[in-house]
């Protein structure tokens, strides 16, 4: 493999700068990566407007089939692209000047509809900006639109969206994963250059895996949650979904770091993640948890992940077996804690202040009608579960016990990380499943997050990146888990792997 790292598709534009304009090569700018766009714009070979033109051309072409977005912000996008263009003309540049980025529709964007894919917020236009989108704006990004998700980020397929189901660009009859399915599909379908997702139990990594793109859930506290509509506050984290590892590092450089508006964001200096790219991984210890290679895993997935481990070994990494003994309790623990927090976080949707309101003969009636009609079945299921777990007489047995188990799971990771620098697992036990296949079986659906959930409980960072395809040509994702606040080592390993494979250059045919 001899691809230059900065092109996802291996398109050889760097050999002939300005090729698109002068040589007439049909290079589609929406297919580029963040770093490509940066270079071409800064070299004045293309303009920000060219990039958004191609992006919207693509959206017009495929969005009917993919349905990645809830809201397209075409006018805002052109305005932002022109602003970015002005900045560049004035001789300045910034990390994301003119880069079209899609944002999951659970991050508040001032003046732009933010629905959380819920009827409850069908008309909600935030009067304020989330910290992450504010930081993207500070780097002159271009907002393409707001992407689809499972309602309030609760789900693993986007089938729980109140509006529509997003399709997997690799197979339109399959789900893109979730809850950040819209963002992952938009990146995979080249409807944007990069996207933001949020991850509470796997909602960035699982769809990234199923759509064949890169997704990073940073350490809890690395990225501000201010303006992210809360699902489970102690687990939620925003992160990038990108076409390659380099782009994930660039986006992290833009959005990461302490935010005084989020008390749970860590007051640590943000490292330059780009510096981790290209570092040698010789002697680096990679832990393989024995509990993660279990029966029931799709054999193509297992084969791809095992091949990836061998590849890393061939690059000089040392493979060690580690144990995460409390893995079996992760799903139960997660569904007690996440639902408990959700039951409280979603109490504010009461029809009084904003969003959907149903009539009622009195206050209680209005509350009940509003919440009965405004929330979908999965959200209601989780609110009820969480309400129950926090109720007098059950708190100790459920919420408190789950917190104790959470501590044990965290200790599992602490211990494993004394033996390994990173831990590698599959991201998801299977590739993309068919739309409707698990929709009526919540337990089956919950199991699709079996490899990702523990990571949120432990608060550690993890990335999913493409590592192969099934026989049905569906992408398989490799999960690299790092120590607390050590995204750098993840980037190092992921980049080394990516450079030695070409999975990330493959594209769905749409």
């Amino acid at each position: 493999m001899s691809l230059h790292h900065s092109t996802r598709r291996g398109t050889p534009y760097l050999g002939c700068p300005g090729a698109r304009r002068k040589g007439g090569l049909k290079l589609k700018l929406n297919e580029l990566t963040v770093s490509d766009v940066r270079k071409l714009i800064d070299n004045r070979e293309i303009t920000a407007r060219d990039v958004i033109d191609d992006t919207y051309k693509r959206i017009d072409e495929v969005e009917d089939r993919v349905k990645a977005f809830i809201t397209l912000t075409r006018d805002d996008a052109y305005r932002m692209a022109d602003n970015a263009g002005d900045t560049i003309k004035s001789g300045k540049s910034s990390l994301l000047a003119g880069v079209p980025i899609a944002v999951k529709d659970n991050m508040c964007t001032k003046g732009v509809l933010t629905t959380c894919a819920s009827k409850m917020l069908y008309n909600f236009v935030p009067p304020y900006e989330s910290t992450v989108t504010g930081r993207l704006s500070a780097q002159n990004y271009v907002l393409v639109g707001k992407t689809n998700l499972d309602e309030f980020a609760m789900g693993s397929s986007t089938e729980n969206s109140s509006f529509h189901t997003t399709k997997n660009p690799w197979n339109l009859e399959c789900v893109p994963g979730g809850s950040s399915g819209g963002s992952a599909a938009a990146v995979a379908a080249d409807e944007c250059i990069a996207a933001l997702g949020s991850d509470t139990g796997g909602s960035i990594r699982q769809p990234a895996s199923l759509c064949g793109v890169v997704g990073l859930k940073p350490t809890y506290g690395r990225v501000s949650r201010y303006g992210l509509v809360a699902f489970a506050s102690s687990l939620d984290q925003i992160g990038p979904i990108t076409k390659n590892v380099t782009d994930a590092a660039i986006i992290m450089n833009a959005i990461g770091g302490h935010d005084p508006s989020d008390s749970t964001s860590a007051p640590l200096e943000l490292p330059d993640f780009a510096l981790s790219l290209g570092q040698d991984i010789k002697g680096l210890k990679i832990g393989i948890p024995k509990e993660y290679f279990v029966e029931g895993m799709n054999e193509d997935v297992e084969a791809s992940v095992r091949a990836a481990i061998r590849k890393l070994e061939s690059l000089g990494a040392v493979i060690v077996e580690v144990s995460l003994p409390h893995t079996g309790y992760a799903i139960a623990t997660y569904y007690l804690l996440a639902t408990s927090e959700a039951s409280s976080n979603l109490a504010r949707y009461d029809g009084v202040k904003y969003g959907f309101r149903a009539d009622g003969k009195d206050l209680l009636d209005m509350y009940m009608n509003t919440r009965a009609q405004g929330f979908g079945p999965e959200v209601k299921r989780r609110i009820m579960l969480g309400t129950y777990a926090l109720s007098a007489g059950y708190y100790d047995a459920y919420y408190k016990k789950a917190q104790q188990v959470r501590t044990l799971i965290k200790q599992d990771f602490d211990k494993a990380f004394t033996q390994a620098d990173v831990i590698i697992t599959p991201t998801s036990p299977s590739a993309a499943f068919r739309i409707g296949e698990k929709a009526t079986d919540p337990l089956q659906m919950y199991l699709s997050d079996i490899f990702t959930i523990s990571i949120n409980l432990a608060g550690v960072p993890a990335m999913s990146l493409p590592c192969g395809f099934t026989k049905d040509n569906l992408p398989v994702g490799l999960q690299i888990i790092g120590k607390h606040f050590d995204e750098q080592t993840i980037f190092k390993v992921a980049y080394a792997y990516e450079q030695s494979t070409d999975w990330h250059t493959r594209r769905p045919k749409l």
């Binding site: 508040c108 917020l121 303006g227 008390s263 749970t264 409280s344 949707y349 509350y367």
Partner: protein
């Protein structure tokens, strides 16, 4: 139970057990979790932002000042300050609660295990403080008289409160009111709360039960709400205790419930039963990190504490030789105590100054609806006036007239005395002349006095005072009268 204890209870064979939960609004400039102003009385929803309105995605950031205020209060009430405390969510639905939960403290409050002292009928009583914690206030629902609408004003939503929870150490409504007064006094000394009960800066709920004197176990309690003045606290408890006694005497059982004080009707009324009580589903607030309170911060705050009412009271007793009662009253307000001390340091005799403050100063302030800070008379002016009494320039009686005039005009005592010609007549000849005139006109009274009707001495004094417009030196007058009549 000893015999005298039994006699001490107000309710015959029953005693009342009362615990108070006082909510004190902290006087910070901004709200507990956002930067909005806490000013009272602005236009509806003019002091709100996405955070205190409970918009999707917002997060709380703790107001450091509020933490300092709560620690201050805890230290002043002899609590220990928890090195590690955290916030919890208290979940319930109500339109004035925009997040659907209140951010409060539950398992790990900031301050625990203190006490304050109250003075009731001359005895100092220690009332235990269980805990003090911080929480954010709710907004206000405003119901339209006609029409089907209610409005919500969220200006108050997010305003920082301290909840000060007492032990069930209080035994009478009077003690409860004294406790409230002392809490108010302390928070005002500290400058952490303005103590304004009418505006709701200080609010109080009470848990009250009764039990036969001598019984250790507690009776079934009722929680009383909506008592927004000291008087109402006393009256509501008085009513509730009698109600509970009657229930038991009639062979019934007190049920655990929340009752609302109806000040117009003068009764408490059932609001909700135990079964209807909310399950608040408390759990640790995940949006705020646990609070570690550095010993250095506690030490720093402790060092900056002012002298507090109880300490000041003790000092006034020992330093000025005042009775407890005087000292308690004078130290109830920091400004009043300062006024007192200033008057004494300007040469006023301590007990005389105390008497004048508790008498004329308070009376005139009340009548003109002024606070001690607004008093037109300076402490030194009172001290100077007291000197005029001491040196015989004016009589104590005339002094009241002088003082009133000083209060109205702000003038010094000496000026008033000169302008109004109120100087005491100490010229023996002048008084003797007046005495002679009175005795000449009152032949029959003189006769009766000489026959043994001693009480008539007052009559002669009064007549002479009348003739001299009250200016006769009372001592000289008495001597002369006795001589002439003797």
């Amino acid at each position: 139970m000893s015999e005298d204890r039994k006699q001490n209870t107000v309710y015959g064979k029953y005693e009342a057990v009362i615990g108070l939960e006082v909510h004190a609004q902290m006087q910070t400039d901004t709200k507990l979790f956002c930067g909005c102003s806490t000013k009272f009385g602005s236009g509806p929803n003019s002091q709100t932002c996405p955070v205190c309105i409970g918009m999707p995605g917002v997060l709380p950031v703790l107001n450091r000042k509020a933490v300092e205020f709560a620690i201050k209060t805890g230290l002043a009430m002899h609590c220990s300050i928890a090195p590690y405390s955290r916030f919890a969510r208290k979940n319930y639905f109500y339109p004035d609660l925009p997040k659907g939960y209140q951010i409060s403290q539950y398992e790990l409050p900031l301050c625990v295990g203190g006490h304050i002292e109250i003075l009731v009928e001359g005895t100092v009583r220690k009332i235990g403080i269980t805990r003090i914690h911080m929480e954010d206030d709710a907004g206000k629902n405003i119901h339209e008289a006609k029409g089907n609408y209610s409005f919500v004003d969220l200006n108050r939503a997010g305003v920082p409160l301290m909840e000060i929870v007492s032990e069930p150490d209080i035994r009478s409504p009077k003690e409860a009111a004294e406790y409230m007064r002392k809490v108010r006094s302390i928070v005002r000394y500290l400058g952490v709360c303005d103590g304004n009960m009418e505006q709701g800066s200080l609010r109080c709920d009470a848990n009250v039960s009764i039990r036969p004197v001598g019984q250790e176990t507690l009776g079934v309690k009722a929680e009383l709400k909506n008592m927004n003045s000291f008087r109402f606290v006393e009256r509501a408890l008085e009513y509730e205790i009698k109600r509970q006694i009657k229930v038991i005497e009639d062979g019934g059982k007190v049920v655990q419930e929340t009752r609302l004080w109806d000040s117009a009707a003068g009764v408490t009324q059932s609001m909700r039963s135990k079964e209807e009580a909310h399950d608040y589903r408390y759990f640790p607030e995940p949006d705020l990190v646990p609070m570690a309170t550095a010993p250095e911060l506690i030490a720093e705050i402790k060092a900056g504490l002012p002298e507090l009412p109880d300490d000041k009271r003790k000092r006034f007793v020992s330093q000025f030789g005042l009775p407890e009662y005087d000292a308690e009253l004078l130290t109830s307000e920091k400004a009043l105590a300062a006024w007192y001390e200033s008057a004494v340091s300007e040469g006023g005799q301590p007990k005389a100054v105390s008497n004048w403050i508790m008498g004329e100063v308070m009376r005139l302030l009340n009548e003109s609806n002024k606070t001690i800070e607004e008093c037109p008379i300076r402490p030194g002016q009172l001290a100077a006036m007291l000197r005029l009494i001491d040196n015989g320039t004016i009589s104590g009686k005339i002094a009241k007239t002088v003082f009133e005039e000083m209060f109205m005009s702000g003038k010094d005592a000496e000026t008033v005395v000169k302008e109004k010609g109120l100087v005491q007549i100490s010229d023996e000849g002048a008084i003797e002349k007046a005495v002679d005139e009175v005795l000449a006109k009152s032949a029959s009274e003189v006769e009766r006095f000489r026959a043994g009707d001693d009480k008539l001495l007052g009559f002669f004094v009064g007549q002479v005072m009348k003739a001299t417009k009250g200016k006769a030196n009372p001592q000289l007058l008495n001597e002369l009268l006795r001589k002439k009549l003797g």
